[in-house]
Symmetry: C2
Subunit: 466 residues, 2 copies
């Protein structure tokens, strides 16, 4: 008689975590500051406060290892979708020929949120703090639309205006995402637009310009500076976003404890780093404290945009238009335009500073996969576990499958846990192309990356000045 409670592990809404985990004070190297792109110096608090919601800036630089989740926010998480389930992937295990309990695959299911991914975890938090502090509008950019949908949902819930600059190519290709954002009352503009100076630079010479995440970020930042009651909202990369996402890992810890399973490897895809960061930070902290010393943590990147696997660790702009803060991070260069893979959420030139430091200090490792093998793994997951995964999440699935098969080959015991960051209902074209044999792989040649990294406008920051 199977214990069903061990195949899908739930937590009661009352068991929702009370604290986020801030790894900054435990990092094996000091956190680097955000640099003002205007003068190359660390951004003073008053500048950061003008751009981001105040509480988020305080969280960005906090040295507290645990930060309480406000009760009003816990109430909203608990009422709508959190804690999310942790599943044992029994059907996938069967398909891979690993019966029994020697090799177990688990996945955290973030696809059950209202907008279908982990993004609302920070969207709700940012909207909550903004409302509390009298901010009446949040402005952001979105590529594939997951982040824009999540922020639209969060802002609407707290009765804040939301404006989204959506990369025009996606705006045209994914009308569904735009409708979803509109349903939450957000204003959605194709970027580049003629609404900002940053947008006009491109729009005026070509109103059909396909846009890029870099241009959209510049437009959103510029727009947010217009009113002292508006703020810019970020969906990844910076510390406070990863912090909010640690609610995922906190739950996974409680869920694994409940079934007395010790994880051997944690796997997550990484674009800006919020999905992997939120999932693994509570465990990485344990690893840094000597608990779980043998835990492997693996970030998965697309071969088309491998910022940790192939980029440099150095100072770079967060956006192409050089309006966003400069960060010390793994980067492929802010001029790097990733190939049009379907995993839009992984098409970012940089990587969260936290992830960059943990990678540099070998607390975690990173791997790359091609999109055909990724989507093929996503399809195997759909056929076995039922959920059609987002192409981003399918990167983690591919790696989990590889690790399980390697453990089988080597007759190892292994508990593999990965984060299913979202579903693929808005990404069906990727699966269609794969089934029709039309999916293309992209790999950046080393020379092109080197060219982007040696561009004359890469920032030169004098670290001795701070």
């Amino acid at each position: 008689m199977i214990d069903f409670n061990k195949t899908r592990i739930l937590l009661e809404p009352n068991e929702i975590p009370k604290e986020w985990v801030n790894i900054v004070p435990d990092l094996p190297a000091p956190m680097t500051p955000l640099i003002n792109p205007m003068d190359g110096k660390p951004a003073p608090p008053e500048l950061a406060f003008a751009i981001f919601p105040k509480e988020c800036v305080l969280q960005e630089v906090s040295q507290e290892p645990l930060i309480p989740i406000p009760n009003e926010l816990r109430e909203i998480y608990a009422g709508s979708y959190r804690p999310t389930p942790l599943h044992r992937a029994l059907s996938l295990e069967k398909e891979l020929g690993i019966p029994g309990d020697d090799i177990k695959i688990f996945y955290k299911n973030e696809s059950v949120s209202p907008t279908g991914s982990h993004k609302p975890n920070t969207a709700l938090a940012q909207a909550y703090y903004s409302k509390r502090d009298g901010v009446n509008e949040l402005i952001t950019e979105t590529g594939a639309g997951q982040w824009g949908s999540a922020l639209s949902y969060g802002c609407n819930l707290f009765d804040i205006k939301c404006t989204v600059y959506m990369v025009r190519a996606s705006f045209l290709q994914k009308p569904g995402r735009k409708i979803l954002m509109r349903a939450y009352d957000a204003q959605v503009h194709a970027s580049p637009s003629n609404l900002t100076d940053s947008g006009k630079l491109y729009y005026e010479s070509d109103p059909d310009h396909p846009g890029s995440l870099g241009i959209a970020i510049s437009e959103a930042v510029e727009h947010s500076m217009r009113s002292d009651k508006a703020r810019y909202s970020l969906g990844s990369v910076v510390n406070f976003v990863l912090l909010h996402q640690t609610i995922i890992g906190q739950e996974v810890k409680a869920q694994l404890n409940k079934i007395e399973v010790k994880p051997d490897v944690l796997i997550g895809c990484m674009g800006g780093g919020s999905n992997l960061g939120g999932f693994m930070i509570p465990f990485a902290r344990d690893k840094l404290h000597g608990i779980l010393p043998d835990l492997e943590i693996v970030g998965v990147e697309p071969r088309a945009c491998p910022s940790v696997c192939k980029g440099d660790y150095r100072w770079d702009y967060g956006d192409s238009a050089k309006k966003a803060p400069i960060l010390k991070m793994h980067t492929l260069g802010h001029n790097f335009i990733p190939s049009p893979i379907h995993a839009g959420g992984l098409r970012y030139h940089g990587m969260a500073p936290i992830i960059s430091i943990l990678s540099g200090k070998k607390i975690m490792s990173s791997v790359m996969h091609h999109q055909t093998e990724v989507i093929s793994s996503g399809l195997m997951f759909a056929k076995t576990e039922g959920i059609l995964p987002a192409p981003e999440a399918a990167h983690a699935i591919k790696e989990a499958i590889d690790q399980a098969l390697a453990a089988k080959e080597n007759k190892e015991k292994k508990n593999i846990v990965f984060n299913l960051s979202g579903h693929g209902f808005f990404d069906l074209l990727a699966y269609k192309e794969h089934m029709m044999g039309n999916l293309v792989d992209y790999e950046m040649p080393r020379e092109e990356i080197e060219k982007a990294l040696s561009a004359p406008d890469m920032p030169k920051i004098d670290e001795t000045r701070f």
Copy 2:
């Protein structure tokens, strides 16, 4: 301090119901037989066994009030998505100005299944029994695609071939659903096709014929008769489908018991009747037994296709092409072609015999709503509860809102519970049209219904012969 466990009520996977509720032996009027369309006589078991999976036929005519759910099936439900959550709609209540606990709105969230609706509840059961009995292919029809997706998922899990005839208009309008079914390895054909005699009747004169659910049913039934290892699969209307769906109501009962809430009104949309039936049957049985005597049960229909509200209770074909069994039910006539409302799952001319009998005996009531007010309510739900509902489910939301506002007006205490049958990620066009002010309402004039009901080919069944 709010008790979060009372705002989203979960059951552990181990608490998944052990039994389905069969209301047939408790009905206030005898269940009528399925009639063979070839000779107008009750279908003999051997004919039914040739069309449907054997265990389903036995369940169709069972007089057992409770039917055990096989453990292997419970394991699959439990591992993937069941029990589903019951939510208190606190944000919606706030929006409606009904703070406090006098009026409470709850919804059962069936949108969390892998294909996004309640349909897998019976798809998994039918695939399970088919596999067990040596059936190697299930054939069905689908309109909007919810049922086709669910059966594709179920068949793939049990390694059975699945063939879906999809109404061509939907096949062209909803490419996403087709890709999802293909991802589960189903064969999907636009109907009418040139693969069956029933299809060729239409296809040969017009290869672009938009099709209808009636034609697609005929094609699926015909296809299933070709092999003695193939069976036809139905997603609604008949007793055994409603039976499998009672897992929903069984869970809702346990969830309401857990928070000690007695429901005053249960609301569900009804197309063929499986969603409402599965939700309310366990409660209707209590009502018939004198428990919960004052419970109201309300089925919601679109004004464009009001089979219970405006149809006759009489014998009629289950499909337009007169190949499917004849049932005694509420019907608008098998020749009735409903207007193209977005709630494709509610565009059916007939109604489950169980629902028809319960309606006739006033155990439940029915109401109608227009699609603009329905989609408008769906939008309010998305803005407050976060989940964008399927247009079908939005019918129940509209009625729940109306009932809550009426209770507020009358200063009544009321516990309102409705079934959220699915999400609307594949129905974004409906919301777009609504937001652009382009959504159209349809109402069938009485004369047109009368014309369909007085068609010369309506079946004449001599009940004295059985």
